[in-house]
Structures are given as structure tokens and as C-alpha cells.
């Protein structure tokens, strides 16, 4: 425990910041002490990321005061914040897709030779070391970032932030896309740098993580800080109560009995993807009304499978049968016509049209039902968006606001709303609750379960084991682009799943041998 009595390293008093009429920060006060790990929690749109952007010089604040080491602090640019010793991993990625992993990691201070030229060797060496440190030994540092999956990108962002020495490291939902393995590794690193006296600010919607590594927690609600507590003094339900203003009713997480029928809704046979033609092919069945989870470590190939089924990427071989009849899916359109929906993992690049209004995004898939003769019926569209938003507790200003003005978690809800509007009979969900807060997550689970009860089948890819165990009827574990095993609900256990997820090496060796 750090000495909480010592004078604060950074203190924020009654900070205010608004976007147009929205008060994103409406009186935020908290303090950071040297060498602590400080959690910021709050519902989606509570203002956490906005505070971080103010601290890191992305946004200017309107009122209030920030003091750092006792002096006034008002960063006018990201550069100024860096000079002051604040390093940030933002919630939305800031990577350069066509540049190499190494270049991305060193982008802030690319190493130079004594002639002032780029020192590639040194750059690659540093990147290698940085990646090894966070456990990414399988990534080639000279590969372009564009070719990596979303979790890898997140880790690269973290590796980049760890490059320069800082006195405050802010991590905005770094674990949202990570699996246990990476999360554990990240926490080891956090403890390491904490030991060196660096203060870490940590944002997460996973309270177990907060309780696992943080010393103190500050709770946000509606742009205000409600309280700052020592972790030792509170319990997770307390924190949730602070967040939502009332106790969260216990949603029946384990109540879900496998109510699905034996009827097979979707069968995948010998599926090989173009990204990994060397695999033996994936085969599995999805029953009517079943929620099938897919677990695996980062890069296990889960996203690939969903994309191939949906026709987002071409399938190399294999077939997909729906209700016993083979489907020809060449493009997403065919899949949608067959009643399949796909919630993609990367909302920024694949899910949303950021510049367009919330309403237009919610109706993007099912625009047919809110239009006639090719003309958009705006009233119907608004109704659809209002309904979808209400169902998912979307927090927004107006339906005509661009989606980019929403907080990260609320953007994710729009992606969900878009696919739910289409009433698919099969729904593929890739990290469906990425960045969604506890309350809304429970809400989403109950919605999904409700859909399953109506006979809709789902495949959920998630890096959160609790999510999979709470939500699914069966879990399929993948590693190295292969299915390692299938677990029924009765067989669920963290150890078992991880064992299969890690078991890739022995298994594949056995197979190729």
C-alpha cells in the first residue's frame, strides 16, 4: 500500500468540460498519489475517457483546476502532457496501419543513428524486447500493424506506452480485448512499474480486475466523481452501487438452463479460411436456440471462423449448412439473406459509420423495414433507433448526433442494436460486450438469453471467460486455428478451458507428427 497520506502527485478539482450542450465532465475531483494503481470506474459515458483526454492534452477543460506536483497543470497538446510525464493508452486505437509493429512502438521517439538516420536495428531490437516483455513473442516486429488482430493491436499500444519513462501511466480499458493470458501478463507489468514508483491509472469495466490490482478506486457517474475509496474498504457490489446510484438487481446468471432443442440450426463442416489454409478445417454444429461460446487465446483464429461463415472473408474450403441445407455465402449479403447476423469485434473499422447519426447506424442492416420504395421513412427509423437504444440502455444526446460523439461502450451498444434490429435467426457475436459497463452487460446477457429462448441461435466469441460461462450453453475452445475441445455446461471450469486453450502446442505437434 502506498502512503496515502503523502501529498498528491496530481490533483483534480471540480473539473468541467462539455461538448456542445453535453456536460461530459461536470465536476470531477480526485487525486493520485505517487506509486499507486488507481482505478476509474463508471458506466458507459460517465466521463472517464474524457477526463483522460483532458489530462493528456487532447481536450482543453473549461473550468476547474489540475495541479501536478503542486503546480498548476494545463496541457495544451499531447506533446505537453508527455513532457510533463503523462503517458496514455487511449481507448480507441491510435496505430499506423501501414507502418511496422516496431515503428509503431517507437513512434514517439524513433531511434536515430549517430548520423541522424533511423536506426532500424535498434528500433526492431527495442520492439522485440517490448513485445517479449508483454508476452507477444509470436508477432513479427517488421509486419505491418494492419495485418494484426485487434488484441494484438491493443498490446502494441500498451507496449508503445511502456517505451518512454513516465511518472503517470494511464490505461483506458486496456483489457477490453485481451484474454486472461494477456491480462495476467499486463498485470505483472503493472506491478513491475508500480514498484518503480510510477503511478498507474486504470480504467476497466471488469471489477475483478479492479479489485485484483488497484489500490484505490474513483467512481464516476454522469460526469461527476461520486467517491474515491481504498479498495480494501469496499466490495464490488458497493462499487456498482456507487456507479449506478442504486443496487443492481441480481440477474440470474446461472439460472439459464439449456433450453435449446436438439435441432441443428447451423452446421460447419471442414471450414478452412484463406488466412490459414494450413489448418485441418473446423467442424461444429450449432443447435436451435443455443448459445455456443468460442474461447481461445488471442490469435487463436476465432474471428477468422466467424468472418468466414459470414462471408466477410472468402472461405477456402468446407461448407456451411443451415437447417440442413447447404448455404452459398460469397459475401455478407448472402449471409444476411440467410438470416445470419454478425457483430464484428472492431467497431471503429467494421462496425460503425462514425460520422453518421445514431439513427442511421442502427438502421444500417435492416434499412428495408424502415423504408418504402427506396425512400427512407425517417419517423420509422427514429422509432427503430429509439427502441433499440432503450433496449440496450444507450446513453445519447439525440438520435441525430453522430455515433462518434458517443462513449466507447455506447458505441458498442449501437453495433448491437444494428444487428438486433434485423431479427436474425443466427447471430454471430465477436466480443459483443467489449467496453460495455457492468449494468449494461447484464442487460445484454438477458437480451441474448431472451433471444435464445425464442429459438435464435448464437455463436459468441469472447475473451472474457466469465462472460462465456455465464452466457453460453456450450463452449468450443480453439487454439492454433483448430478446435481443441468442446465443453458442455456441466464441464465448465476456468482450468479446463485454459488448459485446452494453451494445449495448442502439444496437440498440433501430435497432429503434424
Amino acid at each position: 500500500m502506498p502512503n496515502l497520506a503523502s501529498s498528491p502527485l496530481l490533483s483534480v478539482t471540480d473539473l468541467r468540460k462539455s461538448f456542445g450542450g453535453i456536460h461530459a465532465l461536470d465536476g470531477v475531483s480526485f487525486a493520485l498519489t505517487s506509486g499507486e494503481v488507481h482505478a476509474l470506474v463508471g458506466e458507459n459515458g460517465a466521463g472517464k475517457s474524457t477526463l483522460i483526454k483532458v489530462l493528456s492534452g487532447v481536450h482543453m477543460f473549461e473550468a476547474g483546476e489540475i495541479r501536478m506536483d503542486g503546480d498548476g497543470y494545463r496541457p495544451t497538446s499531447p506533446h505537453a502532457a508527455k513532457v510533463a510525464g503523462i503517458q496514455v493508452v487511449h481507448q480507441e486505437f491510435n496505430l499506423l496501419g501501414d507502418l511496422s509493429v516496431a515503428e509503431n512502438i517507437s513512434i514517439e521517439a524513433l531511434p536515430k543513428t549517430k548520423f541522424g538516420l533511423l536506426d532500424r536495428k535498434e528500433m526492431n531490437r527495442r520492439a522485440r524486447a517490448a513485445l517479449d516483455a508483454i508476452g507477444l513473442n509470436d508477432v513479427d516486429v517488421t509486419a505491418p500493424v494492419r495485418s494484426l488482430g485487434i488484441a494484438h493491436r491493443q498490446l502494441i499500444e500498451i507496449a508503445r506506452a511502456l517505451q518512454s519513462d513516465s511518472c503517470i501511466l494511464i490505461l483506458d480499458e486496456p483489457t477490453a480485448t485481451l484474454t486472461e493470458r494477456e491480462t495476467a501478463r499486463l498485470f505483472e507489468i503493472v506491478s513491475g512499474i508500480k514498484a518503480k514508483g510510477v503511478t498507474v491509472v486504470f480504467v476497466s469495466h471488469h471489477l475483478e480486475e479492479v479489485f485484483g490490482i488497484c489500490d484505490r478506486v474513483t467512481v464516476f457517474r454522469n460526469g461527476k466523481t461520486i467517491t474515491t475509496e481504498n479498495i480494501a474498504d469496499v466490495t464490488p457490489p458497493d462499487v456498482v452501487r456507487f456507479m449506478v446510484g442504486h443496487a443492481l438487481e441480481e440477474t440470474a446468471s446461472d439460472a439459464a438452463a439449456p433450453a435449446h432443442s436438439r435441432e441443428v440450426a447451423l452446421a460447419v463442416e471442414g471450414l478452412q479460411t484463406t488466412a490459414n489454409p494450413s489448418s485441418d478445417g473446423i467442424s461444429f454444429e450449432l443447435r436451435k436456440g443455443e448459445i455456443l461460446g468460442i474461447a481461445g487465446l488471442v490469435g487463436a483464429g476465432r474471428t477468422e471462423v466467424l468472418r468466414a461463415i459470414f462471408g466477410a472473408d472468402p472461405m477456402l474450403s468446407g461448407r456451411v449448412l443451415k437447417d440442413g441445407a447447404p448455404l452459398t455465402i460469397r459475401q455478407p449479403r448472402d449471409a444476411i439473406a440467410a438470416g445470419i447476423g454478425f457483430v464484428t469485434e472492431d467497431r471503429k473499422d467494421e462496425g460503425l459509420i462514425l460520422e453518421m447519426p445514431i439513427a442511421a447506424n442502427s438502421s444500417l442492416v435492416d434499412i428495408g423495414t424502415v423504408s418504402r420504395w427506396g425512400l427512407v421513412n425517417f419517423a420509422a427509423e427514429r422509432a427503430m433507433a429509439t427502441q433499440g437504444g432503450a433496449r440496450l440502455k444507450l446513453k445519447y444526446g439525440k438520435l441525430s448526433d453522430p455515433v462518434s460523439s458517443l462513449s466507447g461502450g455506447n458505441q458498442q451498444k449501437v453495433v448491437l442494436a444494428k444487428w438486433l434490429a434485423g431479427n436474425p435467426s443466427i447471430l454471430l457475436l465477436d466480443e459483443p460486450t467489449r467496453g460495455v459497463d457492468v449494468g449494461a452487460k447484464a442487460e445484454i446477457y438477458s437480451i441474448l438469453r431472451g433471444l435464445a429462448a425464442q429459438g435464435i441461435s448464437m455463436i459468441v466469441v469472447s475473451s472474457e471467460l466469465p462472460e462465456l460461462t455465464a452466457l453460453t450453453d456450450r463452449i468450443l475452445v480453439m487454439a492454433g486455428h483448430q478446435i481443441q475441445g468442446v465443453l458442455d455446461r456441466s464441464e465448465y471450469s476456468q482450468e479446463r478451458i485454459l488448459q485446452l486453450a494453451y494445449g495448442q502446442e502439444t496437440n498440433s505437434e501430435r497432429k503434424t507428427a
Binding site: 444476411i336 467494421e350 460520422e355 442492416v365 427506396g374 427512407v376 440502455k393
Partner: protein
């Protein structure tokens, strides 16, 4: 909906309709400044005759720019419109000078021929660039050469002339001082506005310009939408060809050189983003006016040609800078 009820935000901005009007009117400020200036600087500027002139003079650029707006909104560009216009004009010119037909048939035939010729070029642009996902800049640069070569080849590099009287008349017809050809252009603007703002097609045009992948994953046939955008641009080039012929009474294979830059300029001055997804055809209308008023006004105040060219450059730049500040202040 406990949370939603608890939290009530004051609206962050003015209602969209007004905001979008302000945004559309964006460059309007620069236009107003220009009009005010020229009205003072030249007694002739606001004369009825001169206004008629200006309207006639922006017509062709406006028509091309309307089609160009679609292409730029999906994040493409069409460098071929000038050549395609010449090609369509030559085709229509060949049709309208066919022997042995009555004037009405000839006119109908020519209009059809010109519009079809233009549209086919647009379809080709669209299919090739969308099918192979190639940069439309290069594909339409290819078409620029192909269409121009074809226009010269078909016409034997000769200007085609001597059209039916009614057709030639049409080009200079006025209705209460407003040229009929301008009314045609304005009708295209209105139709384009309607299509872009009220139809599913228009919505997805914007969507593709913003995030093509998201639209594709939402199950829409992005390929066909892109082809459609280029086809519309080819179609308007065909219409422009007909208007050109009616107005100049010739079909010249070397017409329209450099028109693409003017059309693109109108679209971009009008606030449409060259990277797609953002903009409006009302902005395009204003952009075309800026260019037209500037060209007309600078001649009226008697600047020398070279000064005029320099000032044109400066004013275009100043106009977008002005628009930048307007957008900034209207946002806050």
C-alpha cells in the same frame, strides 16, 4: 429505463435541419461577400442581363458537378467528365445530323444517344474501379484519354454543326429571364438532393464514403452502389453534352478540356470532403456559383487576363478559408 430517465441531457447542438442548412449554406458567406463586392465594383453586375449570363455560364459546370458529387461522396473521383462530355456530344452530334429524319425524331435520338454514351462511360469507370478495387483516379484518367481519343476518332477531329432549329433555340431560351438550360441544371440539383437525403440509396452512398467495410458487412451490395455513383456521373456528363450542344450549336471533339477540375472544384468548394462521406449537393450548387460569379465579375471589373487568373486562385483559397472560420464559429 431508469438510467435514461435519470440522465437528461440538454441538446448538444441546434436541431440537425438548421445545422445542416447552415453547413450547406457554408460557402454561401463567401458567395455573398463576392456578390456584394462585384455589385459595388461594377454597375452591370446586378443587371438582369448579366444575371441571365451568369446563370447560363454556370449551367454546364453545375451539371457536371452534380454527378461528380455522387462520385466524390463515395470517396472516388472522376477525371473523365470533360472528355466524356465531348464524346457524348460527338455521338449526339452524329445522331442529330443524320439525314432523312424529322427534327423531333432527330432531337430525341440525339438526346438519347448522348445520354447513353455518357452513361456507358460512367458504367465502365464504375465497374472497372469497383470490381478490382482500383483507384478511380487512375481508371478515370484512362477514360479521359479513351473518351477523348474516341471523340476525335469518330468525328475525324471535325466540329459537327448545323442542328435542328428547335434544338438550337432551346439553348438560348429564357423563362422570365432565367435560361431554360439553367432550370434543367437546377432540376438535377433538386433530384440529386432528394436522392441523397431521402432515399436508401443516398444514405448508403454517404455510408460507403465513410466506412465502406461497415456497409459491406451490413449486407449491402457496395459494388453496385459504386457503379451507380459513377454511372450517375457519366449520365450527367451526357446531359451536359446535350446542353453544351444546344448552347454552342456545335459538337466539338475538343470540348470540355479541363472541365473536370472545375467540376471537382465546385464540389469541394461546396464543402464535400474529397475523402468521401461528407458533403451535400446544395454545397455543390453554391460552389458552382462561386466559380461562375468570380469568372464573370472579374471580367466585368476589367482586370487583365493574367491578374484575373491570379485573383481567381486567391479568391478560391480565401473562400475555403472563410468557410473554415464560418464552420468553426457556427459549431461553437
Amino acid at each position: 429505463m431508469s438510467i435514461a430517465e435519470e440522465v437528461s441531457f440538454t441538446p448538444r447542438r441546434k436541431p440537425v435541419s438548421i445545422r445542416s442548412i447552415v453547413n450547406n449554406a457554408g460557402i454561401g458567406l463567401a458567395l455573398l461577400v463576392m456578390i456584394a463586392f462585384f455589385s459595388v465594383a461594377s454597375e452591370h453586375f446586378l443587371s438582369a442581363n448579366n444575371i441571365t449570363n451568369i446563370l447560363t455560364q454556370i449551367t454546364i459546370n453545375l451539371i457536371l458537378a452534380v454527378g461528380m458529387t455522387f462520385v466524390i461522396l463515395i470517396g472516388g473521383i472522376d477525371l473523365s467528365v470533360g472528355s466524356v462530355m465531348a464524346f457524348a456530344a460527338v455521338v449526339a452530334g452524329k445522331a442529330i445530323t443524320l439525314p432523312g429524319l424529322g427534327p423531333t425524331e432527330l432531337i430525341i435520338l440525339a438526346v438519347l444517344a448522348g445520354v447513353v454514351a455518357g452513361t456507358i462511360c460512367g458504367v465502365l469507370n464504375g465497374v472497372v474501379s469497383a470490381y478490382w478495387s482500383l483507384p478511380s483516379f487512375i481508371i478515370t484518367l484512362g477514360m479521359l484519354n479513351i473518351a477523348r481519343g474516341a471523340a476525335l476518332q469518330i468525328s475525324g477531329a471535325q466540329t459537327i454543326y448545323s442542328f435542328p432549329f428547335a434544338f438550337e433555340e432551346f439553348g438560348s431560351l429564357l423563362v422570365y429571364g432565367v435560361p431554360v438550360v439553367f432550370i434543367v441544371a437546377l432540376a438535377l440539383v433538386v433530384i440529386a438532393w432528394f436522392v441523397l437525403n431521402r432515399t436508401v440509396f443516398g444514405r448508403l452512398i454517404y455510408g460507403i464514403g465513410n466506412n465502406e467495410e461497415a456497409v459491406r458487412l451490413a449486407g449491402h451490395p457496395v459494388f453496385w452502389y459504386k457503379v451507380a455513383a459513377f454511372s450517375i456521373c457519366g449520365f450527367t456528363a451526357g446531359i451536359a453534352a446535350i446542353i453544351y450542344m444546344a448552347r454552342l450549336n456545335i459538337a466539338s471533339p475538343i470540348a470540355g478540356i479541363g472541365f473536370e477540375l472545375n467540376a471537382i472544384a465546385a464540389v469541394i468548394i461546396g464543402g464535400t470532403s474529397l475523402s468521401g462521406g461528407r458533403g451535400s449537393v446544395i454545397g455543390t450548387l453554391l460552389g458552382a456559383f462561386i466559380i461562375g460569379v468570380l469568372a464573370n465579375g472579374l471580367i466585368l471589373i476589367g482586370l487583365s487576363d493574367f491578374m484575373r487568373q491570379m485573383i481567381t486562385g486567391v479568391v478560391i483559397v480565401v473562400a475555403v478559408i472563410l468557410d473554415h472560420y464560418r464552420a468553426k464559429y457556427s459549431a461553437s
